[in-house]
């Protein structure tokens, strides 16, 4: 094996849970040691144990740890890191943090502070994209606190309209308004949520596109002026405006439309002076029109589906780009092979309006098999607390076609056993089994249209539940663990991770 040049001496991963581990994996394949940061709540977390080194950065509330920029930069300096990967969420789309890294002489693995600032401001980026002739949703071109301005814009665009946080993402600070009388309270609620989530209560208004699909394009841009797209992901299956099932390719696109949208996505990135990996989101309406929604300036939660159909490692590409390498020629000649689906495993009750669920993971075992990937931040014994976002893991499958991918996903969800908190596994299986999903009628309204009256009749599972409890009560009274399969519930992180390590191991 040819020894590759080490791109960075050491990378700090300024995040937690599954995405922190995902980034550390990319560091490993590049031969770069990684450093974790952790809070009080994460003392025993998987991501802390997974890194080569780990630094304690404070109390559980994000403001005192994962959002504390100076603590993270100090930790990077102390451990000799010359680059920081922010993951998604937390500081990933904070231009001040990107600037602080640059000022400290540490490479921020992501776009420049200026590109983050521009694209993070939904109002400014709309103006910029209008200039670049990218199709936009009709709506406000500026924003202030004047409710009359909102009323006028709503009347012009026509109801329903959507209130969105200017600094927004992930459904936070977002409200659909169907009737003029609800406009003011909705703006108020959106502002409150935006203030809490992003520390910025600026909201704006645009026309609500009824029954669209959510289709986004993955972008890679190097620091030498080259920008490519790595095809689309369809993320139309959403609850509370948050994606739960994502797939690629989208059934809605033919090659001509894919090429057109892809080239517009590249245009968006270029207009913003974008470098590194990013995602250009579009709404795609029933008549085949598409509108630029926003550009996410980070690695996305759903990036693995792209990786599986294109054979790329997007986080490795992020690190290569940040180190100043040009995009490889191969990235211009990618094709989509087969079909990939991702299901997000949140700690939430899929049988009770997706209320967040907390608790301790008392059993954990992952599905295995060809084309099955699990990006997980949890293990047996993990505590799921209210301190952080409820995403625990992602299950991703790859198969030769969509029909097989759907079946593989259903099977893998059934084999993925997480006990101690609620999840939406059964809900997602019912989505995947729905004839409308099979037919590719995947619109952002899918759940309210098709799943509204869905219920699991728990009474019908009474007997099997009691039979299972009986089996468990018998096995717990015996002194030996149950024999059979190799997938142990009590696997330690080291068993889960395999045996390899880089550098000196954990030294804190």
């Amino acid at each position: 094996m040819v020894k590759m040049e080490k791109l960075f001496n050491k990378i700090m991963v300024a995040n937690r849970s599954e995405i922190a581990i995902r980034v550390m994996n990319a560091c490993r394949v590049l031969g770069i040691p990684s450093v974790a940061v952790y809070s009080d709540a994460d003392v025993n977390s998987k991501h802390r144990l997974y890194a080569d080194e780990a630094v304690y950065i404070g109390a559980s509330p994000p403001r005192e740890s994962y959002l504390d920029m100076s603590k993270i930069i100090d930790a990077a300096r102390e451990t000799g890191c010359d680059a920081i990967h922010p993951g998604y969420g937390f500081l990933a789309e904070n231009p001040r943090f990107a600037q602080l890294c640059a000022d400290a002489g540490i490479v921020f693995i992501g776009p420049t502070a200026e590109a983050i600032r521009l694209l993070g401001n939904k109002v400014e980026s709309r103006i910029k994209m209008a200039e670049a002739h990218v199709p936009l949703i009709p709506g406000m071109k500026s924003t202030n606190d004047d409710i009359a301005l909102f009323r006028r814009a709503a009347d012009e665009a026509g109801y329903p309209v959507m209130i969105k946080a200017a600094a927004g993402g992930g459904g936070k600070g977002m409200r659909i308004v169907h009737d003029a009388k609800d406009l003011e309270p909705s703006i108020e609620a959106a502002r409150r949520e935006a203030k809490n989530a992003f520390d910025d209560d600026t909201v704006y208004l645009e026309k609500y596109i009824v029954n669209p699909r959510h289709i986004e394009f993955q972008i890679l841009a190097d620091q030498h002026g080259k920008t490519v797209h790595v095809f689309e992901r369809e993320c139309s299956i959403q609850r509370r405006h948050q994606k739960i099932v994502e797939e690629t390719p989208s059934v809605a696109l033919d090659d001509a439309m894919r090429a057109k949208m892809g080239s517009d996505a590249v245009k968006v990135a270029q207009a913003a002076g974008y470098t590194n990996a990013g995602t250009v989101e579009f709404l795609f309406d029933e008549s085949g029109h598409y509108y630029f929604l926003e550009m996410n300036t980070r690695i996305q939660v759903e990036h693995p589906v792209t990786e599986l159909v294109t054979g790329t490692d997007l986080v490795v590409e992020q690190i290569r780009i940040a180190a100043g390498l040009p995009l490889s020629e191969a990235l211009s000649h990618l094709t989509q092979r087969g079909h990939a689906i991702e299901c997000r495993i949140y700690a939430e009750d899929g049988e009770n309006d997706f209320f967040p669920s907390t608790g301790t993971i008392v059993h954990y075992s992952e599905p295995v098999g060809p084309g099955i990937r699990v990006d997980s931040g949890i293990m047996a014994g993990s505590d799921i607390t209210i301190d952080y976002d409820p995403i625990m893991a992602k299950l991703i499958v790859h198969a030769p076609d969509r029909e097989m991918a759907i079946r593989k996903m259903i099977d893998a969800l059934n084999e993925y056993k997480i006990l101690g908190v609620k999840t939406s596994k059964k809900f997602m299986i019912d989505v995947l089994k729905h004839p409308a999903f099979a037919a590719g009628k995947t619109f952002t309204s899918f759940i309210e249209t098709n799943m509204a009256n869905r219920q699991t009749d728990l009474e019908s599972f009474k007997e099997i539940a009691v039979a299972a409890a009986t089996a468990a009560s018998l096995s717990s009274s015996s002194t030996t663990a149950a024999p059979g399969g190799g997938r142990s519930a009590s696997a330690t992180p080291w068993q889960v991770m395999g045996s390899w390590q880089i550098g000196d191991g954990i030294h804190e």
Binding site: A197, R240, E415, V466, S473
Partner: protein, 167 residues
């Protein structure tokens, strides 16, 4: 055949008869019979109506947590009856409004003396960075508002109490 009692759902006591045949466990519950074979720690294989399923079950603090074909189920031991539950166990108390999970009260939408209708929004609680709106479960008049906006709440203290209207 041995037998053992369990508690399912809202307190129904269910009796299981069972026998062990090597590793296989045969269980009869009411009219239904099951054969469970261990296939890993906490994992069992069973066949129902010709379809094979893997189920996971583990006991923790008196509760059996079960995943059967992704349906999440809970069974308790009879001794656990009457133990105070956590969030979500207030289903029968229609005159009290609880937070769905510990969090911060961001907005109280009613005041003492207000008449409220079923499903009327009562309070917004923020937890896990999401706002959760809690609605009235019955018609009535607000008797007491026990918390103010900005207060931290748990799932055991009612945020709002109602005098219910006669049905």
């Amino acid at each position: 055949m041995n037998s053992q009692d369990f508690v399912y759902g809202d307190g129904e006591v269910v009796t299981a008869s069972f026998e062990k045949d090597g590793e296989t466990i045969r269980v009869t519950v009411g009219e239904k019979q099951f054969e469970l074979r261990p296939v890993g720690t906490n994992l069992y294989a069973t066949t129902i109506n010709g379809a094979r399923s893997h189920l996971a079950v583990v006991k923790s603090k008196g509760v059996y947590y079960i995943d059967f074909d992704s349906v999440l189920l809970e069974v308790k031991e009879p001794s656990e009856l009457g133990v105070a539950g956590g969030a979500g166990d207030h289903g029968a108390e229609k005159d009290k409004i609880y937070a769905p999970m510990p969090g911060k009260v961001v907005k109280i939408l009613v005041a003492e003396g207000d008449r409220v209708d079923v499903k009327q929004p009562m309070v917004i609680v923020e937890a896990m960075k999401m706002e959760n709106q809690v609605n009235a479960k019955a018609k009535g008049t607000v008797r007491a508002v026990n918390f103010a906006e900005g207060d931290q709440v748990d799932t055991e203290s009612p945020i709002i109490e109602l005098d219910l209207e006669e049905q």
